[in-house]
């Protein structure tokens, strides 16, 4: 018997599908959350910023869902994947389904995620999966823009008034427990690393952590202590907020199946 267990094609396909859905759903759900702010952001400039970022994220999700649809090979289109899957089929990080809250919370959520996507997409550009590498390269340009926006705001809030500082610090602390699952390595992740498709989690964590430290320092904010794992959105276990978000996002397709523009 061979020492290393042979990986079946089915296992590889399942791992790739799961990974691409994680990336797609994280972008899609945050895109939907930011879309809720249309007409509600504190100023028109921030309204535009949120809307533009939302659009980029939904665009990235489309590219990724189209890829997921091909990997799955079940004739489920990108739209069907977005609008007809249930809560437990979604693989997004629990961080991005958190409600909008005040402006500090919106910015903190965005920054924690932007730093993650920036690190991840940089490394995914070298993926052995050409399609994934192409999507990462395209998305990276947009993510850099998002990161400058959210990072710039976090510094202004943290290093601003006493009120904005306190709110920014509180937001970072509230959202911190949701960041642990970004680096929660599963068997399927290790398989994809062996195949050269995904970068090792440890590399993503190191890159993310360096960005976080740099910006928090400039923002005069404190990095919260490490907390034990509590959330597993990437495995389909979500907070109560995702169901409401999906009910809103999927309403039209659920009520009028196959409705088109």
């Amino acid at each position: 018997m061979s020492q290393t267990p042979a990986t079946s094609m089915a296992e590889e396909t399942a791992a790739r599908l799961d990974y691409v859905l994680q990336l797609a759903d994280t972008s899609l759900v945050l895109g939907q959350r930011l879309g809720e702010l249309l007409g509600h952001a504190p100023t028109i400039e921030e309204d535009l910023g949120m809307a533009n970022t939302s659009l980029d994220l939904i665009g990235q999700a489309r590219l990724l869902l189209a890829l997921a649809s091909e990997i799955e090979g079940q004739d489920r289109s990108e739209d069907q994947l977005a609008f007809l899957r249930t809560e437990s089929d979604f693989r997004n990080l629990v961080l991005v389904e958190q409600p909008n809250g005040d402006f500090a919370q919106i910015i903190a959520r965005q920054f924690l995620l932007d730093a993650y996507q920036l690190t991840l997409y940089e490394k995914l550009q070298q993926s052995s999966d050409q399609r994934l590498a192409a999507i990462a390269t395209k998305s990276l340009k947009e993510t850099q823009y998002h990161y400058r926006y959210s990072g710039g705001w976090l510094v202004r809030l943290g290093d601003g008034t006493e009120e904005s500082h306190n709110r920014a610090q509180r937001a970072i602390e509230q959202l911190w427990p949701f960041t642990c699952e970004m680096f929660d390595e599963q068997d399927s992740d290790r398989l994809l690393v062996r195949l050269g498709i995904a970068p090792p989690m440890a590399d993503i964590e190191a890159g993310w952590s360096a960005l976080i430290d740099e910006v928090l320092r400039e923002a005069t904010l404190e990095r919260p202590a490490r907390v034990p794992y509590r959330w597993f959105g990437r495995r389909g276990v979500h907070s109560e907020h995702l169901g409401y978000l999906l009910a809103d996002m999927q309403y039209l397709q659920r009520t009028y199946p196959d409705a088109r523009w």
Binding site: L63, L140, Q144, L211
Partner: protein
Amino acid sequence: MVSEANLVHSPAEAVAWAALAEIADPEIPVLSIVDLGLVRHIKATGSDQIEVGLTPTYSGCPATAVIRGAVLTALKRAGFSDPNVIEVLVPPWSSDWLSAEGRRKLRRYGIAPPAQAVSSPRALWVSAPVVACPRCDSQATEELSRFGSTPCKALYRCKACLEPFEYFKCI
């Protein structure tokens, strides 16, 4: 830089390039999709068959689907019965691909053309590029918002003539 000159290999391809040069961008109608560098390649694959590679500016740009439809219609009108439009993501679109003619047209239309070259991808503070006002040419301008009315634009204001204007972002 993609231009007709270095990509036309057959008369059919020249016809197709000419047809696509007539298609205006839905958001910035003064520019054609060729000026914007969205048409990555055109390959004649048969007597009346043609393949066109299109790239999106931003992955979520809502104009992408409209442009694709316009390209199919224009190619059919130009005599290609079975045109094939494919999406090209590599290399990703860059504002550097805007043609010289495109930059002139943008300016005349009142949108400042993109600056060139992007700084370090991870730098948090990037000084906003010096953008000349498309109305009065003054370089005394300031950034109002990094995001604008479409994904590809930012908002600026001229401190000399006091007019706000749009700047075509550099990516």
